[in-house]
């Protein structure tokens, strides 16, 4: 098993945390994992891109040339990275901010993450909603394991934040389940 995921969005959309949660969980489950932020030039603004590889075998290059999965949070990232998905790959988009065109032939899941997050009262958890969707599709890890890591990462933060994140994860899972 090797899963190559490209995560991309605006700076503040929490792609770092999403990737770290998956990477941390993979590590604890004894998988090989690399997580690499791929910046553009030394300038501000724009998109944040992360390359995450999870595998049962040693990982050589942490750079992804062709992705198994694309997780895309905003339109500029979609335009920039859609070409990197393999034909039978998986595309998960934050449909509150991304319009998918007909050029993409792979399986597409549209999750209105920003909207759902606002409904939960915190737009910042849109990343966790997307994570929930990803887990429900790929089933790489159980939601419980992810929650455990999240609890660990948020241990110095307010309790409500954890509760909102938990709801966010569940709401992401639900979106996918309701499709099936």
């Amino acid at each position: 098993m090797t899963e190559k995921i490209i995560l991309a969005g605006f700076g503040g959309q929490g792609m770092m945390l999403l990737g770290k949660l998956l990477a941390q969980t993979a590590m604890i489950e004894g998988k090989y994992v690399t997580f690499f932020p791929s910046y553009g030039t030394e300038v501000r603004g724009g998109t944040a891109v992360y390359h995450l590889i999870i595998s049962n075998e040693e990982i050589f290059s942490p750079l992804i040339e062709i992705a198994d999965t694309l997780i895309i949070m905003n339109q500029p990232s979609y335009q920039k990275f859609k070409g990197m998905l393999k034909p039978e790959g998986l595309l998960i988009v934050n449909s509150s901010m991304v319009k998918v065109d007909s050029s993409v032939k792979s399986k597409v899941y549209k999750v209105p993450a920003t909207e759902l997050a606002s409904k939960l009262g915190n737009v910042l958890v849109s990343n966790i909603i997307i994570l929930g969707a990803y887990l429900a599709i790929r089933k790489l890890f159980s939601a419980d394991h992810i929650m455990k890591q999240l609890r660990e990462m948020l241990k110095n933060k307010k309790r409500e934040l954890f509760t909102t994140n938990k709801q966010a994860l569940e709401s992401g899972i639900k979106v996918i389940k309701s499709l099936k």
Partner: protein, 365 residues
């Protein structure tokens, strides 16, 4: 316990574990995670953290702390390392142990912030003035970054010589599971040459100025003798599959990771690719390369530069087999497919068929 850390953070924490209590730095991408980590961590262990006004100030603070007997470190990336060169020459000339981390980025000039290996010459050939050498260590994983930084402090003290860790933007920012397996250092070698106040002993002077005719030559002879000892005892490298290999790759750091993929894929075919990965870039593992060159058809050096280490490979090989080069510059990272194509281009004609059979194995799927 395994942790998920960036190479930069792993380097910082390993320094703390090795007993480094004096860190001086100046922000520069892509090594910011290192200085940022030190800003938080040094005060926790009662150490000194100073964000200096420049790289020049930072390395001279290292010079001071090293002269005073402390374990001191600075880190930067290419343009900042260029600024430090004068002081690095002084450190070598005053035989002061310290650790300097270079998370290389693209050059020349302001270049960019992506991974590069274009500071090889500067690191191993003496970037500053005078006849001197740094011990240069090149990690190719986050784990190895931590291990080598820890060892670097011991090597520096053992030989009274500055040690450079030559990483790059990829190793610095990559997160991988790693572990601090070595015991935190609490006992340090005696430094009877250090500046501690001359109470009850002859005074110590730290300097590199030898104005009286003959003295400087004598001092240089001493340095060269020390460098010979380091050459004899401190060479480190990793060799994979070099026995019976049709071609051997030579690569370090990030490039070596990708070469390993080619080596691994070649297991599935009858065309055998080997790899020598220098871990010490100075002293360079010339002996193993020389011996191996007598047995293989050709060598391919892979770097993220326009061709720097390849010169040392050629010196080691002394013309015994052809040495080819594949490089990417300006943020380009070689892919396994590119390396395979280059192999196909350079192998002697009797091997072409074998190579063509393995090419499909490295096509990205």
């Amino acid at each position: 316990m395994k942790q998920l850390l960036t190479g930069n953070e792993a380097a910082a924490e390993a320094a703390i574990q090795a007993g480094c209590r004096y860190y001086y730095g100046y922000p520069i991408t892509p090594q910011n995670e290192l200085i940022n980590y030190m800003a938080i961590r040094m005060p926790q262990v009662g150490g000194t953290f100073i964000q200096a006004e420049s790289e020049i100030a930072a390395i001279n603070m290292v010079y001071g702390s090293a002269a005073a007997g402390g374990r001191a470190m600075t880190s930067s990336s290419s343009p900042g390392i260029s600024l430090k060169q004068e002081a690095i020459s002084y450190l070598a000339g005053s035989e002061l142990p310290c650790v300097i981390v270079n998370i290389q980025r693209g050059g020349p000039g302001l270049g960019d912030i992506s991974a590069s290996q274009a500071d090889y010459f500067q690191a191993v050939k003496g970037g500053g003035h005078g006849d001197y050498h740094l011990i240069v260590l090149a990690p190719s994983s986050v784990q190895e970054m931590a291990d080598l930084v820890y060892d670097a402090f011991d090597l520096a003290d053992k030989h009274r010589n500055p040690v450079m860790i030559l990483g790059d933007a990829q190793i610095g920012q990559l997160m991988e599971p790693m572990e601090f397996s070595k015991k935190p250092r609490e006992v340090f070698p005696l430094k009877d040459w250090a500046l501690t106040g001359a109470e009850g002993r002859k005074r110590n002077v730290i300097k590199s100025f030898y104005p009286i005719k003959g003295q400087l030559e004598e001092f240089n002879a001493h340095l060269q003798k020390k460098y010979r000892t380091i050459r004899e005892h401190e060479v480190r490298y990793e060799a994979i599959n070099i026995h019976g290999a049709d071609i051997v790759l030579v690569a370090y750091g990030t490039s070596a990771r990708i070469c390993k993929e080619v080596v691994k894929k070649s297991h599935q075919s009858e065309f055998k690719v080997g790899l020598i990965r220098p871990i010490t870039l100075w002293p360079f593992p010339e002996q193993v390369i020389k011996t191996m060159s007598e047995r293989v058809q050709c060598i391919l050096t892979v770097e993220m530069s326009a061709g720097q280490m390849v010169e040392d490979v050629r010196l080691a090989v002394e013309g015994k087999c052809p040495v080819h080069f594949y490089g990417r510059t300006g943020g380009g990272v070689p892919t396994s497919l590119e390396i395979m194509r280059k192999i196909a281009e350079v192998v002697p004609s009797n091997l072409i068929d074998k190579v063509n059979r393995i090419l499909p194995l490295v096509e990205v799927k």
